[in-house]
């Protein structure tokens, strides 16, 4: 059997999996009955509903013709990786990673790390330009978030301030 719409086929699968997962999770809570709903009641109903809908979507994707097959296309691994990585590294610098004993490196370090990593996601990477951008962003963020809005962030690396 041919897949007539790739997008619908896989989104249907996704909905089915998520629906089943939630319904299965709900069964470990008290379901109760209509008059006295337990914590599992509503999620169970929704989970079943979602998997049914997912099934219908998948089925339609196998049966109903589409013009171009609605291909998913290539996945942009490069931006995906660098944007998410930039975000994670920023989180690690600002909050530290207590589980491996890493102490916060602070906002300024985080901004430079984020800018340099995220910039790799684009088509071109110009070291000088990125450095200037990181510097500008650091100054703006310091002024806006630390001086103006007085948010409680570690600004400098913990080993310098402590």
């Amino acid at each position: 059997m041919n897949i007539k719409s790739q997008k619908d086929f896989f989104s249907g699968l996704m909905f089915m999996c998520v629906g089943v997962a939630f319904a299965w999770g709900a069964s470990s809570y008290n379901i109760g009955n209509g008059a006295r709903m337990g914590p599992g009641y509503f999620p169970l109903v929704l989970g079943v509903l979602l998997s049914v809908l997912g099934g219908v979507i998948t089925f339609k994707a196998l049966v109903v013709e589409t013009v171009d097959g609605e291909k998913i296309g290539t996945i942009a691994w490069r931006p995906l990786f660098f944007i998410i990585a930039a975000n994670l590294v920023f989180g690690a610098s600002i909050g530290g990673l207590p589980s491996i004993g890493m102490r916060p490196l602070g906002l300024i370090f985080g901004i430079f790390a984020l800018t340099f990593i995220a910039s790799n996601a684009g088509d071109e990477f110009n070291f000088k330009e990125v450095t200037i951008l990181a510097f500008i962003l650091a100054v703006i963020s310091y002024a806006a978030f630390i001086l103006l809005l007085k948010l409680q962030f570690p600004v400098w690396p913990a080993f310098l301030t402590a």
Binding site: D8, F22, T115, L151
Partner: protein, 503 residues
């Protein structure tokens, strides 16, 4: 007149120096971010929300409303000047607006959008003020069964009027409802789906979802397109004033757009997008005057009507939110989240228990609209400069502000890990062609819906017929059914698809 007393109270609140300043800052920031191509009002509000945390509730809401309008306005500017709709409601503005810009008439196009929106905003505010009180009265007659049915109607409305596949949109809503289940159940105290992670017992933050899905997901998808597809042609602007002829064409279009927009905005799920589409279709149906430019070739009515409609719609979509506490669309869902952060539970009780806030907000909406005209028309040069900032400088800044915004909500890095996960999920949604806006709406409504369902069935001792035996509830459900049936009818179905692929 009670209406005028109320409005006077509102203007008294809004016209303090402090609140005027926050309205101004909100509009400025909203426009600043909204003008940037590829960032819609949702991402803008999510990104700027943390900036309001430190403010008192009234000021915070005023600023947020300003941000919302600013983002919408900024979106139109981008649409007209660079042929890039910043948000879905300005998709139709692009068609004629950009053509006008290419013919060197960007100025009149911007003026038509600005003045049209301002007029629509004034009317919308008046309607909001007039309807708020009676609707609030009605809201007090609502029991849990009515609220549940109303939410069903709202959710159905949201998918019916949305673009794209109906069944996928419904699935996204349910997915959103399920995500809303994560966290401690208020009745039993059971931590649901928390996977033994302490932070998840508080549930998933809506900012995390909004920023991950709308912010990161969009950025990744934008970056995956080649530079040439993002190529920006910035039209130059010379002379703002429309000609006399332009005004003659514009005025009736603005009036029609405003009427249509106000009407569609009140309907659950309607809001700005549908209003703009409907207004453009209506204009296309009316006869061209002799010597008038055809639609799609730079007709000023094609700019004025949808812009007026989307602004009127975004104004009146505050009505269900403020009177019933039910967000009619994703942007309003974000507003609910914002209000909850400031300890305001949106709903009928806001008006009675907190009249300064309620009327102050309404008054400042009008002030915000006025400020936007002032901000946008003379300062257009600055916004154009912003448009020429290359994307490779923009996106690291957006990633940074999202990260900082997310972290500052709870000062907890856990939220940053979560936003990374939702960024990946958001990109997945784009790749699978599933619209994320209904998900956010479902997410906000999830816990409310469960609570009302539970209460309704508790009162009826488990009898489901309560939803159809109570007249108000039954008519709400019937309306939802009618909406669904109408959309599924073959003739309407093909029309609907047509409307959304409009050249």
């Amino acid at each position: 007149m009670e209406l005028f007393d109320n409005l006077a109270l509102g203007f008294g609140v809004a016209f303090t120096l402090q609140n005027l300043m926050y309205a101004f800052i909100g509009c400025l920031l909203g426009t600043l971010i909204g003008v940037l191509p590829g960032i819609g009002p949702l991402a803008t509000i999510a990104m700027l929300l943390p900036a309001t945390y430190a403010l008192p509730p009234v000021a915070a809401l005023i600023m947020l409303a300003g941000i919302y309008y600013g983002a919408q306005y900024g979106g139109s500017t981008t649409a007209i000047l660079v042929n890039l709709p910043g948000e879905s409601s300005s998709v139709v503005t692009v068609i004629d607006g950009y053509q006008m810009a290419r013919q060197g008439r960007a100025g009149p196009a911007l003026a038509a959008a600005g003045l049209g929106s301002f007029f629509a905003g004034c009317v919308g505010t008046l309607i909001l003020a007039a309807f708020a009180a009676p609707l609030t009265e009605l809201a007090f007659k609502f029991g849990p069964a009515e609220y549940f049915s109303l939410m069903i109607l709202g959710l159905v409305g949201a998918v019916v009027l949305a673009s794209g596949s109906l069944i996928k949109a419904i699935a996204m809503i349910i997915l959103g409802l399920l995500l809303g289940m994560v966290g401690t159940d208020v009745n039993s105290g059971v931590a649901r789906y928390s996977l033994d992670i302490a932070e998840l017992t508080d549930g998933i933050g809506f900012i995390v979802i909004a920023m991950g899905v709308f912010g990161y997901g969009e950025i990744i998808s934008n970056l995956s397109k080649h530079e040439s597809e993002r190529k920006i042609f910035v039209a130059s602007v010379t002379g703002l004033m429309p000609t006399k002829e332009d005004f003659k064409n514009m005025v009736p279009a603005v009036l029609r757009g405003t009427a249509l927009g106000s009407l569609l905005g009140i309907l659950p799920g309607g809001g700005a997008v549908m209003a703009a589409f409907a207004a453009y279709t209506l204009e296309k149906k009316t006869k061209l005057r002799p010597g008038e430019v055809p639609f799609g070739k730079g007709n000023i009515r094609g700019v004025a009507a949808p812009e007026a409609a989307n602004n009127a719609g975004s104004q009146t979509s505050f009505i269900p939110l403020l009177t019933l506490g039910i967000p009619p669309n994703a942007v309003m869902a974000l507003m609910v989240g914002a209000m909850t952060i400031h300890n305001i539970q949106p709903g009928p009780q806001v008006m009675t228990s907190n009249p300064e806030l309620f009327w102050g907000l309404i008054a400042s909406m009008w002030i915000g609209n006025l400020m936007l005209v002032i901000l946008n028309l003379p300062l257009i040069g600055i916004w154009i400069k912003l448009l020429s900032v290359p994307y490779r400088w923009l996106f690291p800044a957006i990633v940074l502000f999202c990260s900082i915004g997310v972290y500052s909500t709870n000062n907890n890095t856990f939220d940053i890990w979560m936003v990374a996960i939702f960024g990946v999920i958001g990109y997945l949604f784009i790749k699978l062609g599933t619209e994320p806006a209904p998900l956010l709406l479902g997410f906000i409504l999830g816990p409310m819906m469960e609570e009302y369902l539970r209460r309704a069935l508790l009162l009826s001792r488990g009898d489901w017929s309560v939803f159809v035996t109570r007249p108000l509830s039954a008519s709400l459900l019937a309306a939802a059914m009618v909406l669904l049936v109408v959309v599924l009818m073959p003739s309407v179905k093909s029309k609907r698809e047509e409307a959304f692929v409009e050249d």
